[in-house]
């Protein structure tokens, strides 16, 4: 019967949550989101004066995580000129921490079976219009071959529904399969070098299994931090209805040794100011308990999905203007973190908000199950979780980024040489990681231009590379510059995956 779990599914659901893996991180039985306290702070910090804002800006520029009252003050700015200043500062912070590069990636959806029934999600189990399937390992391989061998991606975010057929064992198999793919390209070879995952909350044991196959970042969004809204949108009795099991999944990942974790909220479910505060509290609690904050923060807005009327009915839709403020305030509040803008957003919005703090974006994006190797071009509602706003190719997006003055980076070096956990935190906070970002952007962009670029994109990219190499020559020690040139020439000769 529609929406009713099978015995196997029910048994699996009952086995997932382990209370002892929640309560150990809580204080006095309470989680770190106090809804009333957040609202009180938002109300207490209205009409912040300019001197206070200047002090907060200075703290952000020193790459320090803000206090809740400070973020609340930023969220209450009303003066347009002050907002303009905040956008400029956000841009400056991003440059300081990550230099001029934008990392690109692609999502790969492996399955849309799900035991949950979230009101806003196209994949909810009672949604009859969605075609359900799980990719086999051969299909996963084909998807990865297209992504690595034809488009040129090096980094994926792999996405799975929460279901016994896509449990940790299956996820581990898919990751091994993706890492094994190696495809000959025009001048070298293509390979996925970093597999990040967007998956459900898991136990420490399951997370260790994923750690052992070498996952990149473990990404889970809380969706909404507001307890009441969370309860309303995730029906009681479903696995996802357990707020704290989800809230502490990054803590468990860090305990399991996965020391790159990513948080996010789905904007449009509740008040956007509250959600930004929730993200800040989340980052601060990870820092407090592990000394490691979120590797990235995501801030997707709700997009239309097949047969999902909730999305049209929400009272919390975020305007384009507020979306820009969300990005800037997150950038100032958690200045070291990576920030992901996805192809949910239309090209015009991506162009506008990218300069104010974005570090990563996707392109050539397809979110249908098996969509890359099927090579379908139109969006198909019945096989997608939601509808995309930007379906441009990676080549087009890279060309535009180059014309805007940005270098596209395919760098995946950090997690392969121990720039992870609290070490990467130190490098980010001191601005030293920006140097690695710049050097590895140059090398990986060279690879991509030689293997995959259209003539127009290559021409635009060469201009950017020239400028970046000049900057490296001017700003970095001579021996670093010389090593870069050596690697650069070796890449031009067909070697791949050289990095700093």
């Amino acid at each position: 019967m529609l929406g009713v779990l099978t015995k196997k599914e029910r048994d699996w659901v009952e086995s997932v949550i382990k209370d002892e893996e929640i309560v150990k991180y809580m204080e006095n039985g309470r989680d770190f989101i106090d809804d009333d306290d957040i609202w009180e702070r938002l109300q207490r910090n209205t009409k912040p004066d300019k001197n206070r804002i200047r002090d907060i800006i200075q703290k952000s520029l020193e790459i320090q995580t803000l206090e809740p009252d400070e973020t609340a003050s930023l969220l209450n700015i009303e003066d347009p000129d002050t907002w303009h200043e905040i956008f400029q500062v956000a841009k400056e912070i991003k440059r300081k921490v990550y230099d001029n590069r934008i990392v690109t990636f692609a999502p790969l959806y492996c399955g849309d079976l799900c035991v949950n029934n979230c009101l806003y999600c196209g994949f909810r189990r009672e949604n009859v219009v969605i075609k359900r399937r799980r990719l086999g390992l051969d299909e996963i391989r084909k998807e990865a071959e297209v992504l690595a061998g034809e488009i040129g991606h090096k980094r994926l975010i792999v996405v799975y529904g929460e279901h016994p057929s896509t449990d940790a064992g299956y996820i581990a198999d898919t990751i091994r399969t993706i890492y094994d793919v190696k495809v000959k390209t025009k001048n070298g070879y293509g390979q996925i070098r970093r597999v990040n995952v967007n998956i459900a909350p898991m136990s420490v044991d399951d997370l260790r299994l994923l750690r052992d196959v070498g996952i990149g970042t473990y990404q889970v969004f809380q969706e909404t931090y507001h307890h009441g809204t969370y309860k309303r949108l995730h029906p009681e009795g479903t696995l996802k209805s357990h707020y704290q099991w989800r809230l502490y999944c990054h803590h468990r990942a860090l305990e399991a040794g996965v020391d790159d974790v990513a948080i996010g909220a789905l904007f449009g479910l509740y008040d956007w100011r509250f959600e930004v505060m929730g993200l800040l509290y989340h980052a601060r609690d990870l820092e407090r308990q592990f000394g490691i904050g979120p590797h990235t923060i995501s801030f997707p807005r709700l997009e239309p999905a097949a047969n999902t009327p909730f999305i049209q009915a929400t009272n919390y839709r975020v305007s384009d203007e507020d979306f820009k403020k969300i990005i800037a305030v997150i950038r100032l509040s958690v200045p070291y973190t990576g920030m992901i803008l996805t192809a949910r957003e239309p090209a015009s919005i991506r162009r506008e908000v990218l300069p104010i703090g974005i570090t990563q974006t996707d392109a050539s994006t397809k979110i249908g199950i098996g969509a890359y190797s099927d090579r379908y071009t139109d969006q198909e509602e019945d096989r997608q979780q939601f509808l995309l706003g930007d379906t441009r190719s990676l080549d087009e997006v890279i060309r535009e980024l180059a014309q805007m003055g940005y270098i596209t980076s395919f760098c995946t070096a950090g997690y392969r040489c121990g720039r992870t956990g609290d070490r990467i935190m130190t490098l980010l906070r001191t601005g030293r990681e920006a140097v690695f970002c710049k050097l590895n952007a140059v090398l990986t962009f060279r690879e991509w231009l030689d293997d995959f670029a259209s003539p127009e994109t290559k021409a635009a990219g060469e201009q950017v590379l020239k400028k970046e190499i000049e900057e490296i020559k001017d700003k970095l020690p001579q021996n670093v510059y010389e090593k870069l040139l050596e690697y650069y020439r070796r890449i031009e000769d067909g070697e791949r995956d050289l990095y700093f």
């Binding site: 890492y179 070098r193 970093r194 750690r211 052992d212 196959v213 070498g214 996952i215 990149g216 040794g257 996965v258 020391d259 997690y415 392969r416 040489c417 121990g418 720039r419 992870t420 956990g421 609290d422 070490r423 990467i424 130190t426 490098l427 001191t430 030293r432 140097v435 690695f436 050097l439 970095l476 020690p477 021996n479 670093v480 090593k483 690697y487 050289l498 990095y499 700093f500």
Partner: protein, 89 residues
């Protein structure tokens, strides 16, 4: 034989050696735990020079990384490798 040191002791001892090497030879050294492609930092220097990192695998679980191997004398390198090797035996 039962392991006599815990991983936390290994990390503490590695931190001490890494600091000595940093102070004496201006070379940055860090210890990583290997999980497939993921090489997670566990101990040692948190900063480094901007040269390419060279990973030396001690065993299936641990590797030592530096961008400055050429600054470290052979016997000091061997001391570091032994520290990690002995822990794993």
């Amino acid at each position: 034989m039962a392991r006599e040191t815990s991983t936390s002791e290994l990390f503490e001892r590695f931190n001490v050696v890494a600091k000595e090497i940093k102070d004496e030879y201006n070379a940055h050294l860090w210890l990583i735990e290997v999980f497939g492609k993921r090489h997670s930092y566990v101990a040692g220097c948190k900063e480094d020079s901007f040269l390419p990192p060279e990973v030396i695998y001690i065993n299936k679980r641990f590797a030592v990384v530096s961008s400055d191997w050429d600054r470290i004398p052979l016997e000091k390198k061997e001391e570091v490798f032994s520290l990690v090797r002995d822990f794993c035996n």
